[in-house]
Amino acid sequence: MLQAIADGFMSGAIIALGAIGLTLTMGILRFANFAHAELVTAGAYIALAVLWLTGAFMGPIGPFSFGIPMLLAMVVAMAGTSVLALTIDHLVFRRLRDRSGHMTLVFGSFGVSLVVRMIILLIFGGAATYYSNELQIAMRVVPGLRIMPDQLFVLGLTVVIVVALHFFLQRTRLGLSMRALAENPELTRVNGVDTNRVIRWTWIIGASLATIAGVFYGLTIQLRPEIGFHLILPLFAAAILGGTGNVIGAVIGGLIVGMAESLSVLFIPAGYKLAVPFLILLLVLYLKPTGLFSGSAGGAK
């Protein structure tokens, strides 16, 4: 039980990081991006490629399985994934945004997700890999609960990122423009906000957070080309549960979804674990489609 709660926190943190980017896309760019979860996979694998190419040993520090090189690889991967997201926007979404109904964007993102997933599969192969083959010793915190140092690092960094992002959105000019665009696009444009710049930064923030989520996934579980595919539903469930466009909502939504997935194993066969986000989603849509904390671009019409 205690272990399931700890594991739920872990996967909840990863889902939360992915869901923040997704909820921003849904709020600001106003479409459900099925390809967002593939950015998580892309980020994780770009970090792996950086480690390979530089031949850098992960350089463990202290109790962690990784060190400075891994963190640098993650930063490079954040930039790489941002470039990927901006390229996709430039090649596909911008063209579809300009001329057609917004469901065409959703349709387009559906196609994009398949292309990105297959490119990753082609380059890196389908087998599961790890950043490091070194075994990490779990610390026994209390009887019945084991935690790896990496997991504590992941949780800590997630908290720092969420707090930083919250202040960015509340206090900076760019953050204000992003919230304004989510709230009322026409009025924002009339007020002379450079919407293209806001859209660019939305992608960069979303892709960077997706990369961090991907690296965390790789560090604490493993790397597989299907990471993103299996995250699509948890990310949407978390974003909608928290109210689309609502960053703090997405974080809490992510923790709830991760926790529910983890605890579900105590009640239902593990084979059905992946269906838990769908049940949460269905429940939210029936009972409170605006989410627990109504977002800026509320779901209900």
Binding site: F31, G108, A275
Partner: protein, 310 residues
Amino acid sequence: MSGFSIYLIFFLIIALNYGIMGLGLNLQWGYTGLFNAGVVGFYAIGAYGAAILVGPDRDYLIGGFDLPWPVAILGGMALAALAALIVGLATLRLREEYLAIATFGIALSLQLVALNFESLTGGANGLVGLPRPLFHLFEDSTTYNLFFLGLVIVILGIVWFGLELAVRSPWGRLLRAVREDESAARSLGKNITLIRLQVFVLGCSLIGLSGGLYVAFIGFVSPTDFLPLLTFQVWAMLIVGGSGNNAGAVLGAVVVWALWTMSGLAISRVAPVELQSQAGAIQVMLIGLLIVAMLIFRPRGLIGEKTGGS
């Protein structure tokens, strides 16, 4: 009969059965603008539903009702309609993308049920040894396949004719009104949510019909026939053929299925054994590229919707 024509019959049965699925999807997306991201889920319900209803009684399985095929296929369609109703009621009054997300979710969840609920679905092995409809009346499988092709064509014809009548009726004109300008349709006092729900449930039961026919033809169900890739393939068929046009939906099914099987054949012949899986990934990637490229460069498809007055 030559090997080629035997293969052609087999190919057409599969492709035209996808055509039936394409007609269901076209009703949803082409005419009404509803994005169903879980096509394979409704196809699987139709297939498993029919298999469970028609299957012989086996003591290690729940189900096995030994019912006749027409009843079983209708039962499968009803189950697909029921699943559509559950998803539709939750999402169709909300923003349009919620339907896409929820359909994606139900397809994934149904895949888990197919794999894990062994006493109902046979798990990874599936349900085998189902009686094929009227099989005993034919001397060999080639004449049987010819009969089955005729059956699929007749059913496809009936569905097509019915849909053509429906979309030309006042109800059908309303679908496009819902797609093009929801608030205008609403201001005319039309119940938009109800119309969407009708379209979604009807479309999904047609997708379920196609699933039931597929099982009737091959005589077994197994989870490997219901991978998420199928949803992408059927979408590629519709967008290539031309959404908003029933002829386009069927044409797209034949064209894309031909391209898919031929490229698969070419890969298995040409690509060296150690590169086969990579070649397979390229084949799948092309489906995604095809969808994106068609959306950007030729959203009307080969023969799209007739514009201006209909």
